[in-house]
């Protein structure tokens, strides 16, 4: 009897994932985002296969070379191979985005969940904290934090991560507020389960869909913010390659070699576009009420 029930649960879980994938696959925009990001990720992870050049090696005899067979995307103002810098720099840009969203999730989701589930003074305090963090316009919070913490990879990740926290707090609180009134939560309470267990085992798994969508969209915006900091010279420091830093360095040669700004910018744009398309697609795929899946 127990075996049959477990088998049934396993089948229905498998069925749910298969339905999700089917809906996602039919979403043209989502598949485009998936392909763009898949290609990008494969290229940056296998960078050494595509280029033999060291992204930080300066060759002053090869300064500002145009595109050629030897240097596919030309060289920068210090004779470094642009293709190598773009591929290796992509690793860092995507890593910063991923880690920052990780920080946002790890801190924002529990805070939002506790805020929505407990209510009262806890809710009030956490929401005021979110209000305050959201009152720093645009990417000013990340910028202020980096200006205080100092430049460098670790501080950029922390700054961008902290600025991602309030959106997760707000989102999760909203979902938990509506879920905590559901019958299955009432049933769990009636069975004598503790609040923490109910929140962790029953409420949060049901709030996962909007969290996944938000995390995907935040990956794009985090890459954008981190690259913005790099562009201003407040992100990852040269000679390490990162898309925003490359764009900032290329800006000084905009009249002589506009190509130096073209490719790093295009890479940031494609990555953000990919995450936006993927996020939109996931939102549609995870929401069974939406009828249109061909957009």
């Amino acid at each position: 009897m127990t075996d049959t029930r477990a088998q049934h649960l396993e089948t229905s879980r498998w069925q749910r994932w298969s339905d999700l994938w089917r809906r996602f696959r039919r979403h043209r925009a989502a598949m485009t985002g998936f392909l763009v990001l898949g290609t990008m990720l494969s290229l940056v992870l296998t960078a050494s296969v595509w280029t033999r050049h060291d992204p930080t090696r300066q060759q002053l005899s090869e300064v500002l070379r145009p595109m050629s067979a030897q240097h596919l995307l030309g060289t920068d103002h210090l004779g470094r191979d642009m293709c190598a810098r773009l591929l290796y720099g992509g690793r860092l840009s995507l890593l910063i985005g991923g880690m920052a969203v990780g920080i946002g999730l790890v801190i924002g989701v529990p805070l939002g969940a506790v805020s929505g589930f407990r209510g009262g003074l806890t809710d009030l305090l956490i929401q005021r904290l979110a209000d305050v963090l959201l009152s720093f316009p645009g990417f000013l919070l990340a910028l202020s934090l980096v200006s205080m913490l100092g430049v460098g990879l670790q501080n950029v990740i922390i700054a961008v991560g902290i600025s991602a926290i309030p959106s997760f707090i707000r989102l999760v609180r909203g979902s938990v507020l509506s879920l905590r009134e559901q019958v299955f939560v009432e049933a769990a309470r009636a069975l004598g389960q503790r609040s923490g267990i109910i929140l962790w085992r029953h409420v949060l798994p049901n709030a996962m869909a909007p969290i996944i969508v938000q995390a995907t969209l935040n990956l794009g915006s985090s890459i954008l913010v981190a690259a913005g900091l790099g562009f201003l010279g407040l992100g990852v420091q040269p000679p390490t390659a990162e898309w925003g830093t490359m764009l900032g360095e290329g800006r000084q040669y905009i009249f002589r070699a506009p190509i130096l700004t073209l490719f790093p910018g295009l890479a940031i744009f494609l990555a953000v576009l990919g995450f936006n398309l993927l996020g939109d697609g996931l939102r549609d795929a995870l929401d069974p009420r939406l009828p249109q899946l061909h957009t």
Partner: protein
């Protein structure tokens, strides 16, 4: 007290508390700098006397709550301290740069409202047409485009290649065009997306069908009836975007060498001029909170059905 007046007071108190929280975080950021803030502000080459003087000047030798209280009292009086770089009052430098930033932000907000709403309405009223797809693709590109890259591309095309517009500065005629377009791109796209989705919801409601059944012209149905009922989320998006534009101005002003607060902020960060950084971030946040407050108040003018009790 009338319900609307009470609502205004409630919103004012809430905005004031938020601003208090923001000021607290900004204050703590400088105090939590690794090492001695006075030493960091004075620089590596400063003598011990200079460090002691800066510590006393900034009140860093006082307990933290006294420092914060003094910071607040001074801020309310419009005194944000002296710039560590120029020794000029921070507020004077900010007020001299603020008009340039507000000029960019206002032009961009007007562009975002005009172009964004129009594009969103056109897309919603011609659902799944070529125009709708064009707006959808353009807005998706708009929200994904790094403003600093778009700014550089516009400089390459319109300043370097075509020589139509100046690449940087604010002195020459037409110098505000490229920075405003750059800054507005994200907001136009976002407002257009919001307008499209809200209009789609409103256009499906019964009162729109009734308006059409009465024989009203399509223009009147869309702009006088549907758009008016879709305004609240649109106004909210525009208000939030005004704040985002203030933040985005940091990047845009750096790209175009626009002499606003954003550029001053970046210069101050590099110069480790923390009183200036603190002051600029506080003013930016206060402007953002004020905009949100005004957006909240505007709801009553747009939708008289909203109750404030």
């Amino acid at each position: 007290m009338g319900t609307f007046r009470r609502y205004i007071v409630q919103r004012l108190v809430a905005s004031g508390l938020t601003l208090l929280g923001v000021s607290c975080i900004i204050f703590l950021m400088v105090r939590l700098l690794p090492g001695d803030p006075a030493r960091v502000i004075a620089g590596l080459l400063a003598s011990e006397e200079d460090v002691v003087m800066i510590r006393r000047q900034l009140g860093l030798d006082q307990p933290l709550h006294i420092q914060y209280g003094r910071f607040l009292v001074h801020a309310v009086r419009g005194d944000l301290g002296l710039s560590a770089r120029t020794s000029e009052p921070v507020m004077r430098e900010i007020t001299s740069r603020l008009p340039a930033t507000l000029q960019l932000a206002l032009i961009s907000t007007l562009l975002a409202t005009g172009c964004g709403v129009l594009a969103g309405v056109v897309a919603a009223t011609r659902l799944y047409s070529g125009l709708d797809y064009l707006v959808s693709v353009a807005t998706l590109f708009g929200v994904s485009m790094p403003v600093y890259w778009l700014g550089l591309l516009l400089i390459i095309v319109f300043a370097v290649q075509l020589h139509w517009l100046p690449a940087a500065g604010a002195e020459e005629p037409g110098s505000a065009i490229l920075p405003s377009l750059t800054l507005a791109s994200f907001s136009v796209a976002l407002v257009a997306r919001m307008t499209r989705s809200t209009m789609l919801e409103v256009l499906g409601q019964d009162f729109v069908r009734t308006a059409r059944a009465k024989g009203l012209r399509e223009y009147a149905v869309v702009y006088r009836h549907a758009l008016r009922n879709a305004l609240i989320p649109i106004i909210t998006a525009v208000g939030l975007q005004f704040g985002a534009l203030l933040g985005g101005a940091v990047l845009t002003e750096t790209v175009f060498g626009w002499p606003g607060m954003g550029q001053l902020l970046v210069e101050s960060i590099f110069a480790r001029d923390y009183p200036m950084v603190q002051g600029i971030v506080l003013v930016f946040s206060a402007l953002f909170i004020l905009t949100n407050f005004l957006v909240d108040l505007s709801y009553v003018l747009i939708d008289p059905r909203i109750h404030y009790d």
